[in-house]
Subunit: 240 residues, 2 copies
Amino acid sequence: MIQKPIKLFYWPSLQGRGEFVRLVLEYNNIPYEDVCRDKAKGVKPLLNILESSKTIFAPPILQIGELFLNQTPNILQYLGKILNFSGGSEANQRECHSIQLSIADFTSEIHNLHHPISSSLYYEDQIVEAILATNTFFENRFDKWFQFFERAIGNNPYITGSVLTYVDLSLFQIWAGMIHAYPNRMKERRIHFPKMDSLYFRVKEDEKLRTYLNSTRRIPFNEHGIFRYYPKLDGESQIS
Amino acid sequence: MIQKPIKLFYWPSLQGRGEFVRLVLEYNNIPYEDVCRDKAKGVKPLLNILESSKTIFAPPILQIGELFLNQTPNILQYLGKILNFSGGSEANQRECHSIQLSIADFTSEIHNLHHPISSSLYYEDQIVEAILATNTFFENRFDKWFQFFERAIGNNPYITGSVLTYVDLSLFQIWAGMIHAYPNRMKERRIHFPKMDSLYFRVKEDEKLRTYLNSTRRIPFNEHGIFRYYPKLDGESQIS
């Protein structure tokens, strides 16, 4: 396993992209310091890295000894390799990375639904556009994305076959996020994606993750992260 | 070098994300078939892959022998390794991949400026939102992005030092794209980013690329790709 001290630098009050990394560390029972959640430290150490690093544009950042990694798919590719958590063979590692990059695209697309004009403005300043973006997504994009993920799962319990990888944890996370953010829309939708749904339950009930998911280390979904529950975006504005 | 036949599958009438791959192949003088640009074939072979592949959500797709790669940063990471085109050491390879992933994020952010509501709707149906998104980007995001890229270049001619890598070609491409899409805005902006500007000229005038850039193989920038020139988004609507 990893002998060096591991530190995660991410915004302290939201799951966000950091959660994809946390899930991998927690599942593999790797000790790590979630630096910015230490109230005595706060986000200062993260901001220090962003100001001084040559290669890092945004968190999450994972420090392993002297090595600083950023960009979620890059961090997961690295962890997948050293933890043997991406299906073993080079072909499986490549497959995991490729799908994870599409999950990253999906994640950005979801974030844009509540921030279509700009991530630098408040949601409250772009609600009309957010409703339009979200309706269009569920009309034109949702099925395309999850048909793809279902095809990727295929007839196996996990994405590369019978062994769980970091991609399965990410697929769990995005399905959990969709269920949180769009409970009304997902009620009808999820029955059409039985493979996503069973993968979700398989991961959720995995004993290697259950302790974490029920702990205070798991930040609850909230309206600061990627998957936000805004009733107006969940189709309710059309009903009332 | 690569002994196996190489095929690129990408939309035939735009640079888009495929261009980041083309630049690497062209610079290294690698023979490849740009499949969909063969009018007898068209996009059919690309659509066939998308329908049948388990791991591929979207093009560009690069076929090397039996291997199918997708997701631009993933393709470039692979080519960087086998062509020794990512600065040699493992640390440099990781740095290149990390920065390339941020370039991919940047590219998506730029695409969103003309398609803020949805990539599945026409630009013409979201012009008002596109103007708002673009103005906000140039106010809040442009400097943040290019200060980062300038910091990444540092005092070296190229991103990892004295040797050109695939990341330098991508930085050339996004700066060329910005100059095409926002000639008016960029007139004032580019003087504040001298490192981007000299990298751009260094790559543009590199004799290993000049033939390609002047050939018909280089599709001109147009209003189908990522970097689109719409006068209304270039600040002209505010003037008139």
